[in-house]
Symmetry: C2
Subunit: 343 residues, 2 copies
DNA sequence: TCTCCGTGTGCAATCGATTCCAAAACAGAA
DNA sequence: TTCTGTTTTGGAATCGATTGCACACGGAGA
């Protein structure tokens, strides 16, 4: 057998036929003798023929591949999103090219460049924390190239976004704490560059106001790093310094909530009796903690799946990005667990 | 501007030159007038020219893309591996196509088929739990196609593997429990289809024997599902039924360890005073549990990075798979935490 | 004036598959 | 035997970029 893959030409040579005949025979075109078809398929099988998708891509100017640009893979939420993307893309016959920006703008830009060079049919993006300027996206969007953003929605007019209702999720979490009788609710907030952080903070504020509690700026703590240590220290300091001790924490992510939990335990406070804690994202480990951590569950898999469906529909012209709904907002679900249930 | 990407032809038309001149000018070939080069590059810039990687792939029979076949993305360990793969591949100018088998053999087979169709240059594989027969891999391996297996090493002679030293990791974990004075050590074992499960069990047995403790078959519990519930039930039952209560658990994974932890707590046993627990993998949440869970840390990122380096070296002929070392075994590291430290 | 040589370009084949158009091959009818 | 129509097959262009080879042009030397 020849080195490398057998091509349509090898079959043609073997049978003394032209390549066009082989091509048609393999695809069951009408007007090819059925005996010829049989022989062609037989030889194709024998030579272990496999169509060259690259050649097809070149001819059709379609690669049946979509790109995914994500801040980092090692992140429970994002990994569920990827899983959803992969699932739908695969079932519809598309490949998935993955690239992580590691929250770096420069890598985000080079990623989209190489992906475009590779003639991908469309791209799914969750942009990095560093990204404040979206020119690298608008430039290609303006050329009519399909992009769907997920989780983190950019400030680009007419961009298609799939996200969760961060505002409502945060509202629900805060309202839940209030309903459990907590009064001094502290919010551990995320970086202001991300719309999701702002939305969560706003949901928190709205829930307070709706329940007649005025927002205390000293109760909103910025945790830009998002590490356990950071929030643990912040909360420890807070417990020491505030005149009136906070009796609950709503963190914009689960990691922060764990830090708060540790700081409270360090301070000898009982959870949920003396302090209530709620996180955001509902990472796998929430149910494994003691006490189990309440958290706002985000449908990561669904988000990936929906975003991919929309992207593929745009690629296949089943949807027109100009006339369609710009944003798809998925519902969150508050998982009430022991860390915040007093009753 | 024309719809779609500008090609070399567009530049040629614009400047009334032939495509060959453009090609050479863009690549700074000698024998092209420098004034021409300047103009070509200027127009390329103006038209936002981007070379078509597909066309290049077809011509060179090289796609600069590698495939990754993995059981599931939503798995802390695997996501760290992916991160390592992505890092190296990217830095060496390769794309990464991702496909998850969801532990299904059929999907594994179809994945490798489409990847081959897409002319990938090589593939990294961690096979599914269902896979008992490796024909779909040996067939392509025999044609000289580069495959590197990671984490789960198949029973294929001459296959290249990158894995962690599961035996030693398990040995260390068990020896650690013994050194802490635990005597009745139960092992929660994984599916026997995976070599890693067998290695870990053997490491456990060896550590016992080395320390003069005979292996009690009733102390080896199979947990094929790998869910918290499964191990929780198994352990609960065990605590009830065994004549002599086990005083420690070494689980082949962290999830199982959490289940054991819960069952022990349910039974009113104090950790680590009355029961010691050690897991395997050192997932992110281990340090967040209370008490913090001891676990055997696996270098996922390094594994992905090393496997990718080997694969790319083979692809680029810097390494010859026939003469090289077949297996690269990475060291594990026991993270001793509160769940198993009595002293 | 003719030849030689170097510089700068263009032509055309190539990679693998598809597809429009044309052309064989063959059948049956006149 | 010739013509017409159908069935089956082949030729060639195409997708975008690369590259070996040839060619055009100019000046220099004989």
């Amino acid at each position: 057998m020849k080195l490398g893959q057998a091509t349509i030409k090898d079959i043609a040579r073997e049978l003394n036929l032209s390549v066009s005949t082989i091509s048609r025979a393999l695809k069951d075109y009408p007007g090819i003798n059925s005996e010829t078809k049989r022989k062609v398929k037989e030889v194709a099988e024998k030579l272990n023929y496999r169509p060259n998708a690259i050649a097809l891509s070149l001819r059709k100017s379609r690669s049946f591949t979509i790109g995914v640009i994500i801040p980092e893979v090692v992140h429970f939420f994002f990994s569920t999103v990827i899983s959803g993307i992969e699932e739908i893309a695969n079932s519809r016959g598309y490949n998935v090219i993955l690239s992580q920006s590691n929250e770096k703008l420069s890598r985000e830009i080079s990623s989209i460049e190489t992906m475009l060079s590779n003639q991908i049919d469309g791209v799914l993006v969750s942009y990095s924390k560093e990204t404040k300027d979206f020119d690298h996206f608008t430039k290609v969007l303006d050329q009519g190239f399909p992009i769907v953003f997920f989780d983190r929605a950019p400030a680009i007019p007419n961009a298609i976004n799939v996200m969760v209702d961060d505002y409502q999720g945060a509202y629900d979490a805060t309202a839940h704490l209030i309903s459990q009788g907590y009064k001094n609710i502290v919010h551990l907030a995320g970086p202001k560059t991300l719309k999701i952080s702002i939305d969560r903070e706003n949901g928190y504020k709205a829930a307070l106001e709706k329940n007649g509690i005025s927002v205390n700026p000293a109760h909103i703590i910025s945790c830009p790093l998002g590490t356990v240590e950071e929030s643990r220290e912040m909360v420890a300091e807070l417990l020491d310094s505030l005149p009136e001790r906070p009796d609950s924490f709503f963190s914009c992510n689960d990691i922060g909530a764990v830090g708060a939990m540790m700081a409270c335990r360090d301070a000898g406070l009982k959870i949920p009796l003396e302090v209530g804690i709620v996180g955001f994202s509902d990472w796998q480990f929430c149910a494994m903690l003691d006490p189990q951590l309440s958290s706002v569950s985000q449908p990561g898999f669904t988000m990936g799946a929906k975003a991919t469906e929309i992207l593929l529909d745009i690629i296949e012209k089943k949807l027109d990005p100009k006339t369609m709904e710009q944003s798809l907002i998925l519902e969150t679900k508050l998982m009430e667990r022991d860390s915040s249930k007093r009753f």
